[in-house]
């Protein structure tokens, strides 16, 4: 993109904004808004990519780059910045609504513009990178809908705001060069090739007024700002300044919202624009196609309950025809995900998908046997064709085998290894490569079991397969950590799913009587799969290594670490069955 402005737009208060454009003027118009302490050049790589089939417009926000700067701090209030964006949009595309892409402080001011009823009709879509609406963030910080822990995590990452708001200190840091060094170090977070930023001292100094004029006021007295403009928030996995939830929380305020992650740091769009360009291109094409926007059917309670951590995502779940898999499908659908429900029982998978589609439109069912590697590969390419690369793959299909190991038949043993272990292996091999290749940000969730660390004479073969899944998940997590795909192992414990009724039982006398007693035990424990699914979905948001679900799963895990001897003793206990 040229370094000379192609035109100047005069703002409502007389400031002159430098506007640059590139690409095909007949294509859809994108307006890109940069953050602090950047100028329009932060977009060079992304604009070059998108210019192939779009009319790409960037501008220097007031005070930055080649735009003029107001004398007074009040010239940087959010309302004025939103008016600037509107002036640029009216100038470059007077007849058609434009698509917005914004980063960091650019995203903050663009959020303010799309939630402003007077401006919203000028915008066809908004892609937000690493920047929340300040009022939304204010509510999020005060009410902690995603938990106090996340608020504290965000507070740590926002600590620089205090520094930037202190009079004189940040100016001294920038002018002495110390601030620049610190920032350069932070730009390494998230990895990737380093592309030096082209900034001037003016960009560093003028932009401080953004923080000083707006932050305190918005955080202490947040108002409720909604928007009907379709919004997608893209969050880098290694953002030094932002936790996922403060961005995905916007799902509470935007009627048409989606949230995706990609592998990278706060400024990785400078060096690796591909994952962002891919999402922007798909989103713009979807809106431009004029297809009816999906309408979700939520009760008043559901609409209030969730942010947007899974909104607009695609989740593939195996074993989704019943039990935890089915309930997890419902839970994620309620949180806005489209579900590909996979099960060896076709009608059960279809029922799951049908119910999911009634909550969030766009789910599908596939009848696939997870033990069949070729069929899983086929499933993966089908999903890629129909939905694109999934955001989440849950390798959940599993069967139970109980009874003394020595009395189990070869057939039973082969079956349990095939489904429980090979099913996970096939799922990982089918989906992980495309999740890595597409730029990361995805999640793989494997269902292991509390039996993987609690040995028992009751379920030797079962616990062996689940321990293998747990070990595989740990190692895979290490392998994929540097490529932006997270791996989580779920260890449920006793969940009343009916797994007992379909389990193979060997050498325990009369089978139905044993099963009756086991079923009664599970029923008395009373931990429903719905509750387990809620717990899993909550936990997976923050990509933990392991999710023990029930209290016995937690206690067992602690015990297996504190006192392995006690766990070995438990393995010898004959259950009263």
């Amino acid at each position: 993109m040229s370094t000379r402005p192609h035109r100047h737009v005069t703002a409502t208060d007389g400031q002159r904004l430098a506007v640059y454009s590139a690409g095909d003027p007949s294509g859809p118009t994108l307006v890109l808004v940069h953050g602090y302490p950047d100028n329009a050049s932060v977009w060079d790589a992304l604009a070059a990519d998108l210019a192939a089939d779009h009319h790409v417009v960037t501008y220097d926000v007031r005070g930055a780059g080649r735009s003029t700067a107001p004398d007074d701090r009040s010239g940087y209030l959010l309302g004025q910045l939103a008016d600037d964006l509107r002036a640029v949009v009216d100038s470059v595309s007077p007849d058609h609504p434009v698509h917005l892409v914004a980063h960091d402080w650019g995203s903050i001011q663009t959020w303010h513009a799309v939630t402003e009823p007077a401006h919203a009709h000028r915008f066809a879509s908004f892609t937000s990178l690493s920047g929340p609406d300040l009022d939304h963030a204010g509510h999020w910080l005060r009410e902690a809908p995603d938990g106090v822990r996340n608020v504290l995590r965000q507070a740590v990452r926002s600590s620089y705001i205090g520094f930037l708001s202190t009079p004189g200190l940040p100016e001294a840091a920038w002018l002495s060069g110390i601030g620049g060094l610190a920032l350069a170090a932070l730009e390494h977070v998230g990895g990737g090739p380093r592309v030096p930023a082209r900034r001037t001292t003016r960009d560093y100094l003028n932009g401080l007024a953004l923080y000083r004029a707006n932050m305190l006021r918005r955080f202490t007295r947040p108002t409720g700002r909604r928007t009907g403009v379709p919004v997608q928030a893209l969050a880098p996995t290694h953002d030094a300044f932002m936790v996922d939830q403060v961005q995905s929380n916007a799902g509470r305020w935007a009627d048409d919202f989606r949230f995706h992650r990609f592998h990278g740091g706060h400024w990785s769009l400078r060096s690796r624009p591909a994952p962002v360009a891919r999402r922007v291109r798909a989103f713009v094409a979807e809106i431009e196609s004029g297809a009816p926007r999906p309408v979700r059917n939520l009760t008043a309670h559901q609409a209030r309950r969730h942010g947007g951590a899974f909104a607009g995502q695609v989740a593939v779940i195996t074993g989704a025809g019943g039990g935890i898999g089915r309930c997890l499908a419902f839970e994620l659908a309620e949180r806005g995900a489209r579900i590909v429900a996979v099960d060896v029982n076709g009608p059960a998978a279809e029922r799951t998908a049908a119910l999911c589609s009634l909550v969030t439109p766009g789910s599908a069912a596939r009848r696939v046997d997870v033990t069949d590697a070729a069929a899983m590969d086929e499933l993966a390419s089908w999903v890629r064709e129909e939905y694109g690369v999934p955001d989440m793959v849950v390798n959940n299909a599993g069967i139970g085998v109980a009874g003394p190991f020595l009395e189990a038949t070869t057939e039973d043993l082969e079956r349990v290894v095939d489904v429980n272990l090979w099913g996970v292996i096939n799922g990982v091999r089918a989906f992980a490569p495309m999740m890595v290749e597409s730029g990361g940000g995805g999640r793989i969730v494997n269902t292991a079991s509390a039996a993987s660390y609690l040995p028992s004479r009751l379920y030797g073969a079962y616990s062996a397969t689940k321990a293998a899944v747990l070990a595989l998940s740990h190692s895979l997590r290490g392998e994929l950590a540097g490529r932006g795909v997270s791996v989580t192992a779920v260890c449920p414990g006793l969940i009343d799913t009916g797994i007992v009724s379909s389990a193979r039982v060997s050498g325990l006398g009369e089978v139905s009587r044993t099963k009756d007693r086991l079923n009664r035990l599970y029923r008395l424990r009373g931990y429903t799969p719905e509750r387990a699914a809620r717990r899993i979905a909550d936990a997976v948001e923050s990509d933990p290594e392991m999710v023990p679900v029930t209290s016995e799963a937690h206690i067992g895990l602690a015990l297996s670490r504190i006192s392995p001897a006690a766990v070995r003793g438990y393995a010898r206990v004959a259950p009263p069955l």
Binding site: T299, A300, A303, R351, E530
Partner: protein, 291 residues
């Protein structure tokens, strides 16, 4: 005492007519009040409207006073103690399901009904209502076949699970899907204790004692005490299914005789609804929502 009723002869035709008439009246009250519900109404207010509506029409006593559940309370979310069943100050909003449940007594005859609705449009609520139909058919078929109540309960459970829903009647005290009702012939004063009429409670506890001697129960649940075929008499059956924040149910009287069983009345709002949406019984997995 009603245990004569429940252990032996089924009520005469005129008695059945009286039960049917009261059940009609109760359903009419629920649907009339449901039509008046608007955003902002509290559960207490809705319950009061049903009560007044029925008392104006000759109802003198209650098996239990009217209940109203709004929003996720229709699925009994976070219910831990029985007091939570009573109407609260929760206000109805657009996008909320609701259930009205009442059990009036008039001239000794009892009705116990449940009416489900939704303020606004949600195809999922329609689907849940449609899927209740399979349960109504299943229950009467299995009782007719002479299955034990425990087995019928488990069959309903299996169907709920297959449909992808949750069993919510297990939240009722005693996990009951149904309880026996009979004519109330008590000399006790008409008084309401904790939402239940003392005359009706006297009848119920009398039945509990008598049935206990026969190793049976007037309460129909999945425990071993329900491992017997349905006792002849009248059962108020209330399958209650839930999906996420939504619960739906119906409650009506099943008449059980020595060798047969039938629903007391087929001219009820939910039955008419099914006849309207799909005249023939359908397979649950193929049903589509009618918005």
């Amino acid at each position: 005492m009603s245990h004569k009723n429940v252990t032996g002869d089924t009520a005469s035709r005129s008695e059945l007519d009286a039960f049917r008439e009261l059940q009609q009246l109760a359903y009419q009250a629920a649907s009339d009040v449901a039509a008046t519900l608007e955003p902002g109404v509290t559960e207490r207010e809705a319950a009061r409207r049903i009560r007044e509506h029925l008392e104006e029409r000759g109802v003198q006593d209650w098996f239990h006073t009217p209940f109203a559940w709004f929003g996720d309370r229709t699925a009994f979310r976070n219910f831990h103690v029985p007091l939570q069943f009573f109407p609260t100050g929760r206000r109805l909003e657009e996008g909320m399901p609701f259930i009205l449940d009442c059990a009036p007594v008039r001239d000794g005859y009892v009705a116990d009904i449940g009416y489900s609705g939704y303020l606004g449009e949600n195809p999922l609520h329609d689907l849940l209502m449609d899927d209740l139909r399979a349960h109504r058919d299943l229950i009467v078929d299995r009782v007719r076949a002479g299955d034990t109540l425990q087995d019928v309960y488990r069959a309903v459970d299996a169907l709920i699970r297959e449909q992808g829903y949750e069993n919510r009647h297990r939240i009722y005290p005693g996990r009951v899907i149904a309880h026996q009702v009979g004519k109330v012939e008590s000399r006790l004063p008409r008084a309401i204790v904790a939402g239940f009429g003392v005359r009706s409670l006297q009848t119920l506890f009398g039945d509990l004692l008598v049935e206990r001697v026969h190793h049976r129960s007037p309460l129909w649940a999945d425990g071993d005490v329900s491992a017997h075929p349905a006792t002849p008499g009248m059962w108020a059956v209330e399958p209650h299914i839930g999906f996420r924040d939504m619960g739906v149910k119906f409650e009506e009287i099943l008449v059980v005789t020595e060798d047969d069983a039938h629903w007391l009345d087929d001219d009820l709002p939910h039955v008419r609804r099914w006849a309207r949406t799909s005249p023939a019984p359908t397979d649950t997995s193929e049903e589509t929502a009618t918005a």
